[in-house]
Every structure is written in C-alpha cells, then in structure tokens.
Subunit: 440 residues, 2 copies
Amino acid sequence: MSSYPPVKIGLLGLGTVGGGVTHVLARNAEEISRRAGREILISHAAARNLDSTTARTAGIKLTGEALEVVNDPDISIIVELLGGYEPARSLVLRALANGKHVVTANKALIAKHGNEIFAAAQAAGTMVGFEAAVAGGIPIIKAIREGLAGNRLEWVAGIINGTANFILTEMRDKGRDFPDVLAEAQALGYAEADPTFDVEGIDAAHKLTILASIAFGIPLQFDKVYIEGISRITREDVAYAEQLGYRIKHLGIARRDERGAQLRVHPTLIPQRQLLASVSGVMNAVLVRGDAVGQSLFYGAGAGAEPTASAVVADIIDVVRTLTVDPDNRVPHLAFQPDALSDLPVLPMTEVETCYYLRLQAVDRSGVLADVTRILADRDISIEAVLQKEPPPGARDVPIILLTYRVREQRMNEAIAAIEALDSIHAPVVRIRMEHLNSD
Amino acid sequence: MSSYPPVKIGLLGLGTVGGGVTHVLARNAEEISRRAGREILISHAAARNLDSTTARTAGIKLTGEALEVVNDPDISIIVELLGGYEPARSLVLRALANGKHVVTANKALIAKHGNEIFAAAQAAGTMVGFEAAVAGGIPIIKAIREGLAGNRLEWVAGIINGTANFILTEMRDKGRDFPDVLAEAQALGYAEADPTFDVEGIDAAHKLTILASIAFGIPLQFDKVYIEGISRITREDVAYAEQLGYRIKHLGIARRDERGAQLRVHPTLIPQRQLLASVSGVMNAVLVRGDAVGQSLFYGAGAGAEPTASAVVADIIDVVRTLTVDPDNRVPHLAFQPDALSDLPVLPMTEVETCYYLRLQAVDRSGVLADVTRILADRDISIEAVLQKEPPPGARDVPIILLTYRVREQRMNEAIAAIEALDSIHAPVVRIRMEHLNSD
C-alpha cells in the first residue's frame, strides 16, 4: 500500500505499559498501518529484565542501557515509559537533541519539566506527544488542544485518578472505611504498595497541571497546585453527603476568572445528578466547560496497560502521519488511507443479531402465553423475562411483554409473523431492539 | 506575535450556525489567534438576507451569489453551512478545484457525497474538515480518527439526534405521548416544522454513516443504513422498559464482526445503569468500544448555533495550524503558541471561592447551633442546609452537618478557627469543598 519504509520505534521501559504498547502495535498492525500510511515497528527497547518474553516474541533488540536506544540512529521515535523525573528527563532531552520524536506517558515528567522539554523540542524541530499522561485512554489532550480550540475554556473538572475513585466508590457503595478499602485496592493491584501518589492527590495534581496549561494557555506550574487527598474522608461524610443529594469525588479542578487561575485537587461534593457523579470504580472522566460548546464530558479507562497503550499508540500514529503524508492530508478524511479502505460488506438488517423487547396485545385467556413461548422455542429464541400486565379497566386485551436473548432478525421476523397469525393476538406485535452495550 | 497575515474565510450561509461561527470567531479572536498562531477573519459571506446585522457589525462583505465567495481569490478557507445536497455539493467541489480548503457542518452532504468530495480534495491537495457534521460540539471525529487510532474499533453506539432524545426523555420523565411531546418540541424550536429528518432517523443515519466509515475504514454507504424512527414508540413501551430495568434511546449503532458491518438506527432498550441511559434532553453522546481502550464515552451538545460553531472553528484552526506552522509543531504542545502563553497568576487557595460541607462534633446541648450559625453569619457566610443527626448510642457528641453557599477560603478558615475555639466543639471541623459544576 505504502512506499514508505517502516518507522522504527525505541522503547524506554518494558513494564506493564511497555508490554501493552508492544501488544497493541503487534495485534493491530494491519489496521494501524492502514491508518498511519506506514508500518510501525518496535526495533529496540531498554528494560531491566533482559529476559523479557514479550521482547523475544516480538523480535525486539533488548538492552539494559537506555542511552543505547536513545542514540540508535535507526530509530525515529522514542517512547518513554520509565516514569519519574530522572533519568526520564535526561533521556528525553537527549533524544530530542538527537533529532528524534518523543512520545511519553510520564505525567510527573511533563508536569514538572514540560516547559524545558517543549522548548528543547521546538529548538530541535521534533515532536513530543503526551496524550497518555492524562486520563489514560481518553484522548483529552487532543480534545482540549484541538477539538475545543475555538472555545474560551472556563473550567475543567476531572476524576483523573482511578485508584482514588475506586476507593470512594467502594466507601459509598458498601459503607466501608478508607483504610479497609485501601487495603483491598492494594490486594487487587489498583493501588501501589506505597499509595501516597494516588490517595494524597499528587498523581492527580500532575495531570491537572497539564490540563490547566492547555486549557488556559499558561505555563506548567505544578508547584502552585493546591493538593488534598482522600485519606481523611470517612464513611460518615460519604453517607451524609448522599443524604443531602451530593456525592464525594476526588476532583482536579482548574478554573479561571478575572483575578487568576485556580489549580486544585481535593475531595469535592458534587450533585448526584451530575454525570461526573456516575463515574464509578477505576474509570476516569473529564468535564470541560467552554463558552461555545457548553459542557462536554470525556469518559474512559484512566489507567492500565492497554488503555494507556491506546493513547501512546495514537501519539505514535500522529507522529508517523506527520512524517509521512503531505501536510494537507495528514489525517485521512475517513481515518484510513484512501487506498486502504476495506470492502467489508454491510449486512442487511435480517442478518443482524440483537435481543428484543416484544409487546403483544393478547386476549385475556389461558394458553396464549404458552402458544407464544412455543413459537419462540421452536425457533430457538430464548426468553430473558416476561411481564404480564393486568388489562386496563374494561379492556378485553392484556399486554404481554417479552424480553428475548440474542437472535438473528430474520428468525425474529418469522416468529413475529407466526405470533401475529394466532387468533388470540389482535394487534401487530411491537418490536424494539435491545442492546446491553457491554464489553463483547 | 505572528508574522503571518490573517487567514481569510468565506462563509456560505449566514443562518443560525453562520451567525454562531461569526460570533465565536469575533468573541474569542484573541485566544484563537494565540492558539492558531495567526489571525482568522471572515471576509466574505453568501446569504439570502443581504441586510444581515451580523455581517454588517463584523465588516463582512455580503453577496447573494455563493459562487462569488467560492471564486474570491483572497479566501483560503470556505465554510459551507448551507445544508442539503445541492448546491452545497457543487460549491464545495468548485472550492476544492479552486485550491481552497473546506470546512462543513453538512452531514447529509458528507454521508451522501463524501467519497467524491474527499477524492477531489486529495486530487487538489486541500483539506476538508467536517467535525461539526456529527454530534455538534463533541469532537468525536477527531477522537475516533486520531485519539483512538491505535485501536481496532468494535462498535460505536450514539445518541446523535438531540430532537429524538429530547422527545424520548420527555415521554419517560412525564409519561407523555409522542405526538404531544413532538408538538412541544416544535414550539420550543427543538424540532423543525417538518420533523421527519429528526424523528424518522434520517439525520442520525447521515451521522452514523460517517461514524461507521471512520471507525471501520469502509467507504461512506448511506444507502445501506437500516433506519427506524421513534414515531411509533408509545408511553406504555417507555414505562414497561423502565419496569424491566431498561430505557429506550434512539441509537445509531455501527458494529462489525467476521461477517460484515452493521449500520443501523433504531429505538433501542439499553440498561438503565449504562452511562448512555443518563444522557437526557437534547444532549448527544457517543460510546465507542475499542480493543485497547475499552469503552469510552464522549458527551456534549449535539446541535445549536454555538456548539456547532465550536466544531466549525476547531476545524478552521486545524487548517490554519497546518497552513502556518512547521509540520513538526503543527499543534503547540500547550495548545497555545509558545510565545503566546499567558502570565495569568495562579491564585493561592485562600483566594479561591467555593461552597463548603462542614461536619462538627458538638456537645448535645441547646445553643451550639446558634453559636455556630452566628460565627458564620458574622462573616457573611450563608447556610444552604443543616443536617443534625441523633448522637450514636452512648455517645456524648452529636454530628452537625452544614452546607454553605460560596465564600472565599480565607474567610472560611477564619470561621472554622472560631468554631473550633467554642467550648462545645470537641474535634477539628471536617471541611470538604463543594462544587455544583453548573454553567456559570
């Protein structure tokens, strides 16, 4: 499809997120090259464990010395997944000086040293992507920096630490105390052995620093964020807040008025009807208020190997698209390169499988339900629930409501025709499709 | 700040959305040029009403002849806001042939003629932006095309027509019938005099066509979408669905499996706990399932002059950034150009205003609440609610919970110090900040 040679990537760090990036790039290689216009390969990685199965399987050259990757002349893009300030900062600056583009998931690095790093990138004429630094898989950096660029942004409020949100959700749902839930979160791997960064708000403050900068056009100022964690929240406060119509969430809030900007991370009561109040467990969400768009919410997984890899790979594709195609068609109109569209057929509705809600108007006599369920059973249509209502006063017919499991529309059409042919059914069957929108 | 001359825009159509675009570009001119690196001016517009106050105020040259704008040599970007297939299609093709970039909010045009238009843009080496064509102000095109580009997208399900969602929300909340709510929606201006496009799902099908293409990498195929509207949904079905734990939403669904792609718009029962089920009124939301990111939700205003203008202006800025800066720093790292960051001060926490939740442990005797409320009143701190609980069995102290209206943190610190100095108060006051996250 493309005449460009593959772009070679160097990974710094092959832990959880590094493994995720490796897997996503390998698993989706075909679609990714159709989107990016070019193949993307990880060719060199620095890791502590030089025996990594992931690396061996993927044919990645491994080293214990990160500088070797940063200085590898074959590599165009360095992906920094070490975390922390050093040696990440020095390695990123060296990579930029070497003319390489950088993609990082390191919120601490960007919040604290971003001003320096961006100046170095500007001087070197290279790119730095950091979508994964805030809210994991949610493309919130891109949304604010590009998608909402026409707005004057008034405030941003986000649930941007999954661990803290998980703990508060459990405290509320189960009436448990903070230390108790923290111990469980640690056992489940949602919280680190040293949970300070998450529960005391430092991680959220790193992310908020970045959000405030891109929302208001101010330099990164991590040291000016007011930070308060959730460790002093009690189950009593959680319960009282609920009784008053509120929910306690650990929010990062950036707001501005004529006097200045506010950057603060603290437990916050918000109205229960607010969409943010429904964001539970380890999920993240960012609510943005712009003068033109009004309120806009971005929700998704804020951490984990694959969601973080989703953002890292998106940044890599951004860089590759810029390296590859002409600027006027950097991003293909239909997301995939025009010569790489697929001829996947569009199925007729009769071939689609869904669950169904059926409402029948039936004569109120015994045997009707048996007839209907036999028609469905004969066609292997399983019933999830039946709701039979009293007939309205004076009415001869009773409504019967059925929920079915998944079945192909064609077969449901046949079943409905058979049901409508029954003497005891007087009106056309009402059929509404049903979707659970769960993970499969 | 920038040495580039202003970019000149030509508008086709100066109705609701055209007015919105004009106002947003004028109101946010300073921030927009700091983001885009260049001033953006509307210099020429085609409109039916040559007496437009908007145009006169903004100093825009007006014409009744759209071709004049499309052929104006000073103009770099044509913004097409006419709607419908023709003459929009011919004018857009002409603009591209003239070497101009195009930004459009026209979902019908893109769904039906997008393949032809994109090929023409590719041939001409110009850009076409259509973020405003789907879900108004929500940057969902950018999110799928770029932000989630590392994923294999499995399905997309969206509430992408605000009118239909408003009607279904009213039917549920107030137990009203379809024709009744439709009439109200028309009176409120949420529905057109001829509501067919909205309530029969054609508008949603246009948008779904676009979403399916960018999610799966297939050509635009509007004629293959299965379309069913909401006009046959009764309040009884809405109520029965609720009793069974579901909610009826009008969804556009694109899904793929090994057999092919499904493109369908129809009323759908979804579980009440699903975040999409909480999207009410005229709001839009798109739920995307990717193999790496999991489920991600994008929520916001799907229509209206200003939200649509938000997307149109974002597309204009995208084009201007590409025209202006070097490709490696097309989008500035911190959203605003590096020489255009603001020195807006970050306020100390004592200067921040919020509402507060206070919990006091007080001796169970009369007069305590009076003392506390006097301390607050002396500092002009107004109380929104008080919750006084029974003391736990055997306990000497009772909890008193107060919610206050907005006050500066400094003053609240003083009030808390005074409360803690009372003889009747035995433990530090618990203080949790409260935000309503409403529109101000």
